[in-house]
Symmetry: C3
Subunit: 505 residues, 3 copies
């Protein structure tokens, strides 16, 4: 019965005249929707109207690949040289994205007579945006999931933090970690592996329907592993069905993950001079212009200005090329690791090995690994690209001083981290705590947690504050030098007390 009702419904939804009238009304023109997308929109206007409205406001609903290709190259948002039929002359609608590469998609299923994928992957987007997809695929973002799970040290850190615990006989025991908790903690940003476990029946407003049963879903982490095997989620930064460049260029997008206490990029930015100008004036700026013109379209940078957008002077001279390899303008890695070091050559960092054979870019005592990181020349080249963007407003003496200061800060903060690491090693050596040298968990005791705070929270904050010449509070009292100093004292106190109350073995 329900099945019949649904069939009738689809028929009604799909009556072209009705549908086109609805959509035309929005746009005042005759959009060239594909027959399939017309059907999608016809039903989804009723069942999930929000995403249809979202799409109607997007460039995708108003442009066809061929119309996009007729624009001058520097203003183009499409990087394919040609998009073949049947997509060439229809707007980029539901079916155009959700039907691609069906053979690779384990989440492909029959939905009201159409074979569609639940998840649209970077590989699907590469139909029109191949340059962006390729750049992204080599980045640390694309590898964000594996970089946590394939690295036994990070993996142990993650699982120690997010596992359920029970206290038994005076010991804190780690129990299982659920996929649900993984999904909404570390892997909410790093990305989950979305798997298909057959089909399931779900109740909907139009009756029961069969859809793929996806695990670790929903997820929009940057390193998501998709049911087609590709890595990444374009919707991390171009959310939902507006596919907006404006949203991606606004710092709130980056701020979903780049937040204090561990990655305080947004926190530092909004308290910096650049952030001050942005927050006061951004309503007058143009976040949709391509290319993005210094001074004309914006008067202070956002995250995407420095890290990835195509930036030009007001008269169109290229200052920095667009990139979707988000680390490619960076020479030094500031955050997430015990000490700073040159950027890795490739996004997969699980292959790095420090002098002790551990999968880290530096030793616990700071020595930088010889292989897998970019060399001096590449560092200089990248710093020059970044300086070129600063140069849009700042003179070279200013810029030079800024980067000299940053370099000094990195050294001083890493020195403070080393001071605390030496205390931790002393505690391990003297049997006051148990960690790596004893083959035990290095992240579960109080002194170990204090040590993690030192580099993961306080060191990172100060380095970020320095890198963005801003947020003096993040360099001082808010997870800054105050905390670095106080915490070092606490680590020392912990050792002193432990020595008094537990005689070393």
């Amino acid at each position: 019965m329900k099945r019949i009702a649904i069939s009738i419904f689809i028929l009604v939804c799909s009556v072209p005249g009705l549908l086109f009238a609805q959509v035309e009304g929005k746009k005042g023109g005759v959009p060239r929707l594909s027959r399939q997308t017309s059907a999608c929109v016809g039903c989804h206007k009723i069942y999930t109207p929000g995403i249809v409205e979202d799409w109607l406001r997007s460039l995708h609903s108003k442009n066809t690949p061929s119309s996009a290709l007729r624009k001058p190259e520097i203003t183009r948002r499409i990087s394919a040289k040609k998009v073949a039929a049947p997509f060439e002359n229809v707007v980029v609608g539901c079916y155009e994205c959700h039907s691609l590469n069906a053979d690779r998609h384990k989440d492909n299923f029959d939905h009201m007579g159409f074979k569609i994928n639940v998840v649209v992957s970077p590989n699907d987007c590469s139909t029109c945006h191949p340059v962006e997809a390729k750049e992204f695929s080599g980045s640390k973002k694309a590898h964000a999931m594996g970089n946590l799970t394939k690295n036994p040290i990070y993996h142990a850190l993650v699982e120690t933090i997010i596992s359920k615990k029970t206290v038994k006989e005076g010991k804190v025991l780690q129990q299982e970690v659920s996929d649900f908790t993984r999904q909404e903690t570390c892997f909410s940003c790093h990305g989950t592996e979305v798997k298909v476990a057959g089909m399931q029946t779900v109740e909907t407003k139009m009756g029961r329907i069969e859809v793929p049963a996806l695990s670790n879903w929903p997820n929009q982490g940057v390193g998501r592993i998709n049911p087609d095997g590709s890595m990444g989620a374009c919707s991390s930064c171009h959310p939902r069905h507006s596919f907006s460049i404006e949203i991606a260029r606004k710092p709130y997008t980056c701020a979903q993950c780049h937040l204090d206490p561990d990655v305080p990029a947004w926190n530092v930015y909004k308290e910096s001079k650049h952030g001050n100008i942005y927050l006061s004036n951004y309503l007058k700026w143009n976040f949709n212009a391509v290319p993005w013109k210094i001074g004309k379209d914006f008067q202070a940078p956002t995250c995407s200005t420095c890290h990835n957008s195509l930036i030009t002077t007001p008269d169109g001279k290229v200052v920095a090329e667009r990139t979707h390899d988000f680390g490619s303008r960076l020479w030094v890695r500031l955050f997430g690791l015990i000490y700073s070091h040159p950027q890795p050559k490739h996004g997969d960092t699980s292959v790095l090995r420090n002098k002790d054979g551990l999968p880290l870019p530096t030793a616990f005592t700071g020595e930088i690994t010889a292989e897998g990181l970019i060399d001096k020349d590449e560092e200089v080249r990248r710093k020059k690209v970044m300086s070129g963007i600063c140069n849009g407003c700042h003179g070279n003496a200013w810029i030079n001083n800024h980067f000299i200061k940053l370099e000094n800060t990195i050294k001083e903060v890493d020195h403070m981290t080393l001071a605390s690491t030496l205390l931790l090693l002393e505690a391990w050596n003297q049997g006051l705590a148990e960690g790596l040298p004893h083959g035990k968990n290095s992240f579960d005791e109080t002194i170990e947690q204090m040590w993690i705070r030192q580099w993961l929270f306080y060191g990172n904050s100060i380095k970020y504050a320095s890198a963005m010449t801003g947020a003096p509070d993040y360099a001082t009292f808010k997870n800054g030098w105050w905390n670095l100093t106080e915490n070092l004292q606490h680590i020392k106190d912990w050792i002193d007390l432990k020595k008094k109350t537990i005689p070393p073995k």
Copy 2:
């Protein structure tokens, strides 16, 4: 002398021609102000011009009850079926609100020849908005003050936190708590009891005048007890004299109270995908439309979308009815208590009793009280309303997965709370600390404070992050699993150290 000066002044202010000219100028029409409101505005334009300007921008200054009632019902902001004379055909001005139900108002006084109330209460607003006032009156918000003061356990917690302290002979002694500090801490949000202690003379720009002496005032807490005996303050969310639906629908309003570390709703929202879209795009949305249309008026929900606004599809089909009982779309209570549990049936939670007879919805060890909470059917009904709103943009499989994840998170977090509660009970049992079982304060020792942090700060953060599918940092490092884990370790360390330094009695 002064009295004469004032009288002359009023006379001048009230000259109708002058006044109307002033007000008309703003609006380009002839507003039908009552004679009394004309007098109010005439003086207050000079003495407190800000609130007059605020009101001039409001719908109240531009509509009469009868004009409001001529609108189609679904677009109405007025819920009375009829408003009688003398209010029917004048705009809703100063006198129309500040003169109501004078006999009930202990704060009613003679002000320049008019009998007015200082405080406008929900009961006064119910003249035009009876449905909203009634819904609100049964909510936890309306009972927010009594829920703290009438419950001896919460009361002890509150007073322990905000009392002045002195250290004497090695003991931290609690001294008095002032009404002033109550007013600006817990009861700033929960609401104070505004009392009238006779009249007082105040110096003003027009000389000395007599006004009621109100205690615990100013206050705009949601559970305020007003001088007319009613509960609540509409100005909590519709602030001052603009009575704005736009302000109430923007999350900054909720964010006055629903903030980290204890109620991090706004913090989680702004770091979620919904918050990302809101912050990037809200300037293009319509926060004044009634009904509020998914996709048309907004492209991502704010607090009020999910919790209380009248929501429809773009073509006007009702998705969720308006409600001013703010918990009525919720089935599970996430925050503010040791463990999660089904929502209470009624806003007055001080009547609940756990299995140990304490005024709590659960036992210290988590068992849920049998009475006073909604049943399974009601839980299902409410989840369906909320899911219906999600369904405006999201498919059912997505929504189902989301709520399954939330349920798991609640279980895991409550498990972590239980682990810490068992340690606290051990400490109490072994005489390492003194609490409830000894008839002593359960909230004033270090281990007790750590235990409170576990559920009130860290547990709440993770549950909120899960409920809004957002803010992975609040689930992880920012009062999340990191802190839940670290703090559990600290509780255990405290017990270990105590055992070493104070042999158990």
Copy 3:
């Protein structure tokens, strides 16, 4: 070779026809640029286009001093009575600001044939804005650097926090503090002393050029000591080349430095009712109007409304005069010191002496110094100015209650600080810690750090929350009474444990 290339370049840039065409295009009129500024703009449009665009949007690029002086006095942004030739009849361009008082500027140098200063100082700005420069020069802001460095107690606090440390033989040893770290921590807000150490060669897009080698630069702290000997940086609040009154009036500007945990002004504001209204509605307000009219231009105050802007009623009656001495409307000093006290008479606070001869406005036990602070009459006068602004919207009874509450809060919080100070003094007296009485560092041990938190973080937060009638969370759980109480317990615990593990000497 390069020198020749540069010369040719300048020639090309300076061709008047070309230049004017470029600039005219922007503005649709014939701007009267000086010959020198034309040359500056000609090159910098190519080399640092962002600042040229910024300037083109400023009032400086559109007005000459003489046109500014033709406006009615109350609407003027210029406070000079007359500006002499050659500046009188040209717009305020690059050269008009960067060439002033060359003889005083150690950073003056020959740049492409023009003698210019790198740094524009308040003394330079005083050419057109003498009243503002004079007011500012006496403020605590202007003296912000010396107030930290000339006061041995604050200096020790600063250096203890931001020095590199090493742990040797169980002791945390302070090492050097670098100017770089000073520059990006405390002195990022307080200001650095910018010194000129000869000339340096820098690589630029147009080849190598000689510029002054500035140390402690870039910096925009409010108490910056400039190469001309003057104090302050107007760009702290009127950033870069837009010199915007709008930016200065928006709270993001103050929020660069007035942030939690030590100075949580912005944090408290944005969570207050005023902040709620601001954040919901500020897009409809006029931040450029001079004077700034209550109710007309804004419906809730921002920082600058209460602290320094020229405020009038909607019909232009002055409510508060403009001031650039930012403490001059304040009677009590809430933050940054152990206890509250009347505001200092002068911005240089290093001259104050408490009863023990220490350079502090109060004793460690709270007694207020007799000299150097404003007297009761002045306190009353200032409170009246501030109340007058509140009175724009609030009645006098409301305002009175507010300030009585604030006074009580200050007393209670200072009482809590005293309780912790007495514990610290006990620890010092009993030899559990070493501080001032032993001629030792008072800021480097754990109990000392806890004591600093008590007043610098928690006390300040509660006082701010009270002063702005807002942010109940900052008064309660977020660095509020919760933390004040918990931390007092920790201080007591520390002493108890120390007594048990280190027998007092």
